[in-house]
Symmetry: C2
Subunit: 341 residues, 2 copies
DNA sequence: AAAAATTTGGCCAGCGCTGTCATATACAGC
DNA sequence: GCTGTATATGACAGCGCTGGCCAAATTTTT
């Protein structure tokens, strides 16, 4: 319960300093020394005292995840991805759900970083879309990585992981077009989220490419919720002019639309095809299961965390890491658009 | 960026030690000293350095939450409750999702505790229902609190927070009985979870109290899933002898049952009343919304964390805290059982 | 074989706080 | 008032590790 670096040093027959060097992956350590020390650590089941390391090095071996997202599945998956990365690099993850609306949000985040001496932060929408937060963090020299919706890297988006909602929406729309649908409605999500706009743009681009145009009355704004899907689908399918397919901005909306269609005795997918977005568990719990776009959330989160480690590390190479990687959600065809079992 | 306890001490005109006392809520501090120090801390926006505190006190100001639960909402709510408690007491929460099936789970948990020098652990099912884990933790003198399904405190269940599924299920069943239903079916959840058994027992007890008996063919085992609800309700409602009400073991099952009923053109709640359990967001997203039992998950979690702080604290009173508090989920009547708007 | 480069050890300060114990101050009672 | 007890505060060492620095040991190069 109290094996110290000293014990390891003795067993390995080296100095404390060398053990410390091994732990911190410092360059000038010979291979066999490294192995000796590693073996000793394993044999003793040595667990370095995180607190002591943090204190002495005045940097912490933990990163923070700040979020405010009502979608529990999303959050859980992001956490999982970051935790995977953390475990690999012997970091800790500090989760910090909070209210994005709070006027003192910047202050709050800075305090969090300071108190826990975080090595960096991962931000998801809406925090990743707050310019003032990014500025404040940059000014205080806090490392951070943002996960945002976008398709085109730009110098402004430093240290971002982009999720290409545009292309994914394009693909889904294309799938519907290929099935022969031309009368496609779009059910949007919360307008504050840029993801909704990106998806709409992808939808419209796909239509345009086929020489079609989105009917204004079939592009319906709303919220990212089941109820919103129910209501809008009902209105849409009660009108004179009905679409033959619906592209919903996320799975919840799609499930709502599906629900409405059921009530109206509209058979899916024969009379109406419905596609969602996200590949949430929700999309598998409907009947028929929803065609959707698979967002590899945990992979994205893991990647973001890894990126953060690179930025925050005392890497000797001067060039800061200003990478921007783009993830494209994959099309996932299920029975809600095509009856091929 | 680097206000230390020293700065606070100077500003408040006291010694470092006294500031430390204030931070740790130690008893022997006069009121006015306390106020002076508190004011100084606020003025300087002082953030104690967690690492230093951990090191000096050789105990960490963080607790761990070990879980393996597919229900994201549940996990998120538990996290939120624990975080609330943690923030109040200036603790950190380390989340540790893992695979409950792993044969080395005990070892893994012990390592986690050691590495992060956790002050204690909160366990939810299935971890809270593993006797060997509890034993190992007790032996290693790791403080822990278990959240489990149960109604009767017993010496074996030391440091447990009990969720009285039995009574809650009793109440729901009673509600159905009071509406005049006598033909009530029960759709169970995964049998490995003790919660399912507790709920079934509550259901049967309520019937017996009215001189009724559960029909064996109406007590149907299954899984805690939407699909399982769909299938079982369909079977139930296709039989010769149909129940007039269904008590589903959780909201997902209930939503599935609701879905089936819709497909079969059975009107809810007139021809069939349906009740769920959990008050998940799910239960509000169906139409009609589900009558259910509200499990105050975040409150329970918060309470569990507070209990843990008490156990792990250097409380001078010898008597260990072996409390057992029982939370009873509340009946929440919605339109799926009673059309009264 | 000498010079140069690499690897390792020794030493010490100190990260920012808490535990222990000693001291100072308050509040009794007579 | 004064001693006695309870309470409030302070001084100091040290938690386990890292960083900096230089010297010593070892290996590699010329």
């Amino acid at each position: 319960m109290k094996i110290t670096i000293n014990d390891v040093a003795k067993l390995a027959g080296v100095s404390i300093k060398t053990v410390s060097r091994v732990m911190n992956n410092e360059p000038s350590v010979r291979k066999d020394t490294f192995d000796k020390v590693t073996a000793a650590m394993k044999q003793l089941q040595y667990q370095p005292n995180t607190a002591a390391r943090n204190l002495a090095s005045s940097r912490s071996y933990s990163i923070g995840y700040v979020y405010d997202n009502p979608n529990a599945y999303y959050v859980i998956e992001m956490q999982r991805g970051m935790l995977d990365a953390c475990r690999k690099h012997h970091y800790e993850l500090i989760i910090h759900p909070t209210n994005a609306q709070s006027p003192e949000i910047v202050q709050e985040v800075l305090e969090l970083v300071e108190r826990s001496r975080l090595a960096g932060l991962v931000l998801t929408p809406p925090f990743s879309e707050m310019p003032h937060l990014a500025e404040a963090l940059t000014e205080k020299e806090v490392a951070f990585v943002r996960i945002i919706s976008g398709s085109t890297p730009s110098p402004k988006l430093s240290n971002c992981v982009l999720v290409d909602d545009f292309t994914a929406a394009f693909k889904i729309t294309n799938h519907l077009l290929e099935l022969g649908h031309t009368d496609i409605a779009f059910l949007g999500g919360d307008e504050e989220h840029s993801s909704s706009g990106e998806r709409q743009a992808g939808f419209e681009a796909a239509l345009i490419k086929r020489g079609l145009k989105a009917k204004p009355e079939w592009v319906v704004a709303g919220r990212y919720s089941f109820e919103s899907g129910v209501a809008r689908a009902k209105a849409l399918m009660s009108a004179e002019n009905k679409p033959s397919a619906i592209f919903a901005c996320n799975d919840e909306i799609a499930a709502g639309a599906l629900f409405s269609a059921r009530l109206m005795n509209i058979s899916i997918p024969d009379q109406l095809a419905i596609a969602g977005f996200e590949n949430s568990p929700f999309s598998r719990q409907t009947w028929p299961p929803l065609t959707t776009a698979h967002q590899p959330n945990s992979t994205i989160a893991q990647y973001a965390a890894e990126l953060l480690f690179k930025c925050s590390k005392k890497t000797h190479n001067k060039a800061d890491v200003k990478q921007q990687t783009v993830f494209i959600p994959e099309l996932l065809v299920r029975e809600s658009t095509s009856s091929v079992t």
